[in-house]
């Protein structure tokens, strides 16, 4: 006797109807790399699993009206294999390459990654820096949630019980920019981040800085951005900036690293990431995907 019922509706209309009916006892399934494991290991319970793989159009990955639309069905492999992503959204591309391994990236979706909302979500810092929005739908209609308001805590999002994410929307940047994502793990193979940092630098010297794995949720550090804006980053953070960062992040000690080590690495990796982003903005070097650690 199985523990849940399984449905694979063909339309979003049917999905939102089921969500209205079952609310928290329904779970939406796409790649299942997180969900199926949690169901199998009895970490979560569901009365019904709603598989949305049959819904047409969820694998869309294209620019529409100056916004990139990443459909809820787009896998990390699709992003890694996309020339459009490499060219125009290189940090989302770069961070997608660091997610788990090929066998998981073939199945795991970037939408699932942010909906799981683990503090170490690799895709989050790049999406935060690009001011992405999460497009959610329910029987009440559609709404857009700025990615900064989306993560509310470990494994918690601002998505309502009866909502489904349809896509992630990322505005295009017109003009020159450079960015980078540095993920530090315990070894080079598949691992969760001990610290992850993404930065972005535009031609007019505006910076974006976001972290993952160093707090209860992925976060942006706007205070530091504001102090750096307009200036050429010289390669080292001054004491004021370091203090702000250490005040903003709140890492824990766990099996992957100690709190103290993570704090130190927040500073080191940020310097390296900013340097790489600035250099990529100017001359495209080091190439995206190159090891920056």
């Amino acid at each position: 006797m199985s523990t849940f019922d399984y449905k694979r509706p063909a339309t979003i209309g049917e999905v939102v109807k089921l969500l209205d009916e079952y609310k928290t006892s329904a779970k939406l399934l796409l790649g299942g790399t997180d969900l199926n494991l949690m169901l199998t290991e009895d970490i979560i319970k569901a009365d019904i699993v709603i598989d949305i793989k049959n819904i047409e159009g969820l694998d869309v990955l294209q620019i529409k009206d100056s916004n990139l639309i990443i459909g809820a069905g787009v896998t990390f492999s699709q992003i890694v294999d996309s020339p459009l992503m490499k060219e125009k959204f290189p940090v989302i591309w770069e961070s997608s390459r660091t997610v788990a391994s090929m066998g998981l990236r073939n199945r795991a979706t970037i939408t699932g990654n942010i909906c799981s909302a683990v503090p170490s979500a690799d895709s989050a810092p790049a999406l935060l820096n690009r001011d992405a929005a999460v497009v959610a739908i329910s029987s009440q209609g559609k709404r857009e949630i700025p990615i900064e308001d989306f993560f509310t805590g470990p494994r918690k999002t601002s998505l309502l019980d009866n909502e489904m994410v349809m896509s992630i929307k990322v505005p295009e940047i017109h003009g020159k920019f450079g960015g980078s994502y540095i993920k530090m793990g315990r070894y080079r193979g598949e691992d969760l981040a001990q610290v992850g940092v993404a930065t972005l630098a535009t031609e007019d010297l505006n910076y974006k800085i976001s972290y993952c794995a160093v707090g209860p949720r992925p976060l942006r550090v706007k205070e530091v951005e504001a102090l750096l804006n307009g200036k050429e980053f010289q390669g080292e953070l001054n004491q004021e900036l370091k203090d702000i960062i250490l005040r903003t992040v709140s890492p824990i000690s766990d099996i992957r690293a100690s709190k103290e080590y993570r704090e130190k690495m927040c500073l080191v990796l940020l310097e390296r990431s900013l340097k790489a982003s600035l250099s990529r903005m100017k001359n495209g070097e080091p190439q995206y995907g190159k090891e920056l650690l």
Binding site: M1, S2, T3, F4, D5, Y6, R8, L29, G32, T33, N36, L37, L39, T40, E41, V49, D51, K53, S77, D81, A100, S101, M102, G103, L104, N106, R107, R188, G189, E190
Partner: protein, 155 residues
């Protein structure tokens, strides 16, 4: 809840009745007798249970069998239907494996990877295999065999 599913398995249409929480890995092993996908970590991390789903390597231990209705699955048994592949022969020549538990997963992953990237660098091979754990060999004999195979094929 019992469901009947139909899917393509190693080039044949098959149908089977499964519970909605039954894992693809268990269905392949216990209902179809295909023992090449191994249960090892059971959490999608080690790659021993890899199969091809519509040509892409996936972890059968974290996929419910109901999800593959209407899809195409190829296991290691399916890869070598016509006898040993050249890639397998290269593994054999290089004495790539010892206990054999990771063999089918590595072969599945390498098969997909080489279709996408027929002339990889050693670094790219290592990256592609990062999700397939082997506790016997230290990987060099596996990587060598794949690299050697691509070189010979290019000649």
């Amino acid at each position: 809840m019992k469901k009947e599913i139909i899917f393509k398995l190693n080039d044949e249409m098959v149908s089977v009745t499964v519970d909605s929480d039954e894992l693809l890995l268990d269905v392949l092993r216990d209902k179809f007798g295909l023992k090449s996908p191994k249960r090892s970590c059971g959490r999608g991390e080690c790659g021993a249970c890899s199969v091809l789903l519509n040509g892409k390597s996936v972890r059968s231990c974290i996929i419910f069998a109901v999800e593959v209705a209407g899809q195409e699955i190829i296991t290691f048994e399916g890869l070598q239907k016509e006898g040993m592949t050249d890639l397998q022969k290269s593994f054999l020549e290089h004495n790539s494996f010892q206990c054999g538990f990771c063999t089918s997963g590595v072969t599945i992953t390498a098969t997909e990877f080489l279709q996408k990237n027929p002339k990889p660098t050693v670094k790219e091979i290592k990256e592609a295999l990062a999700g397939n754990l082997c506790r016997c060999t230290g990987y060099s004999s596996i990587v060598d065999a794949i690299y050697d195979y691509t070189k010979k094929k290019g000649e």
